[in-house]
């Protein structure tokens, strides 16, 4: 299964894809395009990726967090391309018999994905566009 998609994300379906009969808790984290960043207005975001490497790096994060929380099942889907305000850019579903581990795993997955996965975003707003994160 791919962790990347060019289509809108259906978080509920993602969650159901990992939910087991023994799970009592499901945490879904959705990253959403918001209308502001660093004080600037945002209208849309273009997500670019080094796709095969991004797939591998997300897989590494998922496997590592699953090893740390063996009772948790994890699904991740990151959308690429042009997204508008309100669109879901990433969805992370963590299911578990009890909720504590699902919350912990969910935060670990998003924190690590943001650090290591080769995905970039260009923000577009009324005053132009800019790739986020690399400053001149």
């Amino acid at each position: 299964m791919s962790y990347l998609t060019d289509a809108p994300i259906d978080s509920a379906t993602l969650m159901r894809s990992v939910l087991r009969l023994s799970d009592g808790a499901a945490i879904v984290f959705d990253g959403v395009v918001r209308n502001h960043h660093d004080g600037k207005q945002v209208e849309s975001i273009f997500y670019d990726a080094y796709r095969p490497m991004a797939e591998k790096e997300i897989e590494k994060v998922v496997r590592a967090v699953e090893r740390e929380f063996p009772v948790v099942a994890i699904a991740v889907l990151h959308r690429l391309g042009e997204l508008r305000v309100g669109d879901v850019s990433i969805s992370i579903a963590c299911t578990s018999p009890h909720r504590a581990e699902a919350y912990e795993a969910s935060r670990a997955v998003i924190d690590r994905i943001k650090k290591t996965v080769p995905i970039w975003k260009k923000e577009r707003g009324p005053n132009g566009e800019e790739w986020v994160g690399w400053q001149t």
């Binding site: 080094y50 490497m53 994905i113 690399w134």
Partner: protein
């Protein structure tokens, strides 16, 4: 030797290319290619830090020796999620 260079995001915008085939001397290390980039695209010198480096879809140290057929990519700070 030939090495394939992949360019993403801001690097693609600055160079106007999404990939390039490089002919490099044996013994060239990954970071040496960044020096070539700085020579060809002086704008890149303005960035506060050099990008990370990936060789064959894995993060690699700057002093990694390149080999014939390698796929090299520079990874500016990521912003997924």
């Amino acid at each position: 030797m030939k090495v394939r260079l992949l360019l993403f995001a801001v690097l693609r915008d600055i160079t106007g290319k999404s990939e390039a085939e490089l002919s490099l001397a044996d013994g060239t290390r990954a970071a040496d290619v960044w020096q070539l980039m700085l020579r060809d695209y002086p704008r890149l010198a303005g960035y506060s830090q050099p990008p990370l480096i990936a060789v064959n879809e894995n993060y690699a140290a700057p002093d990694t020796l390149l080999r014939e057929g390698d796929e090299l990519a520079f990874i500016p700070p990521v912003a997924g999620g």
